[in-house]
Amino acid sequence: MASPRTLYDKIWDAHVVRIDEHGTSLLYIDRQLVHEVTSPQAFEGLRLAGRTPRRPEANLAVPDHNVPTTDRHLGITDPVSRLQVETLGANCRELGIRIFDMADKRQGIVHVIGPEEGFTLPGITMVCGDSHTSTHGAFGALAFGVGTSEVEHVLATQCLMQKKSKAMLVSVDGELGRGVTAKDIVLAVIGEIGTAGGTGHVIEYAGDAIRALSMEGRMTVCNMAIEAGARAGIIGIDQKTIDYVRGRPMAPQGALFEQAADYWLSLNSDPGAAYDRVVHLDAASIRPQVTWGTSPEMVLPVDGAVPDPDEIPDPVKAGSYRHALAYMGLAPGTAIGEIPLDKVFIGSCTNGRIEDLRAAAEVAKGGKVAPSIKLAMVVPGSGLVKEQAEAEGLDRVFLDAGFEWREPGCSMCLAMNADKLEPGERCASTSNRNFEGRQGQGGRTHLVSPAMAAAAAIHGRFVDVREI
């Protein structure tokens, strides 16, 4: 009898085209998402070598990083950003790759539109020149970020040369408390294993608390697998997965869908499958999380206090903490709830989906953004998320509370467009990285869930959403 295999093993095995004498596999890639920042040099490389895409229809492109979130009808004013977005359009039109341009209501963040359109499917291999491609693992797909050379490799060959990663199981057991979300789970996981904890691994998330998450929540958890060092996160396929995919525009339809669904459900990890590392977290003990430093592993529960580097025995870690505290303008021992905020950002591929906006709106409803907050902005993950939110009246809730309601895109998650922090400004953000300068040079980022971000906007500081 065959030995038990993980979901990762099964997807991997189904995609190996050949194995060379060095033990490197040629892995078939079913789908590629393309955006404007990491693709121009790949298209140029193809052109210089006289090559064309092997399967143009296996790619879907969208501009997201550079697009403005206000006055969309005026186009992009920054000429450098505009050229990059125009270059994507020109490349896709020339090579027959489908693109949702800025005027298309389906435009949005690559990792939001892939699932939304049914371009992301269970059991597939998927890449994108973007590290948050791990998001799509929520569907039981093997999805990971690649560099531009590999974008070009996939365009030209529909394959990548890969060594198989190790497997890590992160089991979140039991039930989450009220007000504790997928974002808090993944921040707690990163706090537990560190930002390099998953290096060389694919993380499979399992356990009651993961099964109980919606597809949106699962996407949040897989999205930040990369912040735990793992190129890919993955979650077993169940009825929620199937129901989410059914009827999506690019998903198989009718009898073909039923055939696919049977296959997808056969891919889950077998009982007794082996993992190189297993980590257990108790869901009930996870509290709402807030990062205090410049790495996602520098994270605390909302009722915590900033650590003192002098009490850290490891000199490298203590040095990192000192750098982080200096950059963040925080003193050791400061309570998370005492940190004053300047701006609030709700959006990104981590937390820019409809459920995230509903959770934030529920907290914001009837409140007012605190006078000390200079800007609180909500940026939907896609045009369709925006449309849905407006149909539910969420835009009115945000606008009445004093939030700005913007057009879809990556926005202030990485500040490649006009949305950015000024030096020294401090932001509660639902994005994924609190690195130095990530949201603007000198800007200070605290990562939180959408509900925590909305509550921070109303109160001007971090409060425990479980107590409001």
Binding site: V17, Y28, V316
Partner: protein, 218 residues
């Protein structure tokens, strides 16, 4: 893109004493707006290296340098080996990070660990990432920062050794396929395309097994 074969050399070590150096720090986002593959070197570590705010297209000549950043220390002028702490290159998948490092003149990166995507991107650009034990890295930091002269290392990729002055020979491990690619400067797309028949056979089989992956999308 084909790359140059990796030649053995003697290099100068730049000690960057930080853990978790992320790709946003290596090359900040505003420079990712370029549609070129070259020219990122002057903006390598831009926010740590200069005291003003850097913008794409701006000349870096005459920008105020941060005297406290190690890259600006004259002792390490001409360094082509970067020594760092664990999890170097974490974060974004931007290949602009190895492009910037290579454009600046780095050829070898030494750390106790590298982030996965960065590691792959480095190899694709002819940069050699070397993983060494924490204790060895600690000792190399001591040697690199002591005295007035920089630490030099002889890099022999063919025999898989580093010979660090004052330390001795260190054997290095590297994936055999990566070793092969670096030494021969391979165009790996060209290499994959030599297996086009096998790719086509795979696709034909999958068309039967998983037809929904090949059906025309609506």
């Amino acid at each position: 893109m084909p790359m140059q074969p990796f030649e053995n050399f003697r290099g100068i070590v730049l000690p960057l004493d930080r853990a978790n150096v992320d790709t946003d720090a290596i090359i900040p986002k505003q420079f990712l707006k370029s549609i070129q593959r070259t020219g990122f070197g002057p903006n390598l570590f831009d926010e740590w290296r200069y005291l003003d705010r850097g913008e794409p297209g701006q000349s870096c000549v005459g920008r105020p340098l941060n005297p406290d950043f190690v890259l600006n220390d004259p002792k390490y002028a001409g360094a082509d080996i970067l020594l760092a702490r664990h999890n170097f290159g974490c974060g974004s998948s931007r290949e602009h990070a190895p492009w910037a490092l290579a454009d600046h003149g780095f050829r070898v990166l030494i750390a106790p660990s590298f982030a996965d995507i960065f590691h792959q991107n480095a190899i694709k650009n002819g940069l050699l990432p070397v993983v060494l034990d924490e204790a060895v890295v600690d000792r190399l930091f001591e040697l690199a920062t002591a005295g007035d002269a920089p630490l030099t290392i002889d890099v022999d990729l063919h025999n898989l050794t580093l010979d660090a002055a004052g330390f001795g020979v260190i054997e290095i491990a590297i994936d055999p396929f990566h070793h092969h690619c670096l030494i021969h400067g391979l165009d790996d797309i060209g290499l994959t395309l030599t297996h086009a028949d096998e790719i086509a056979a795979y696709e034909a089989r999958r068309r039967t097994e998983t037809p929904w992956l090949f059906a025309a999308a609506n």
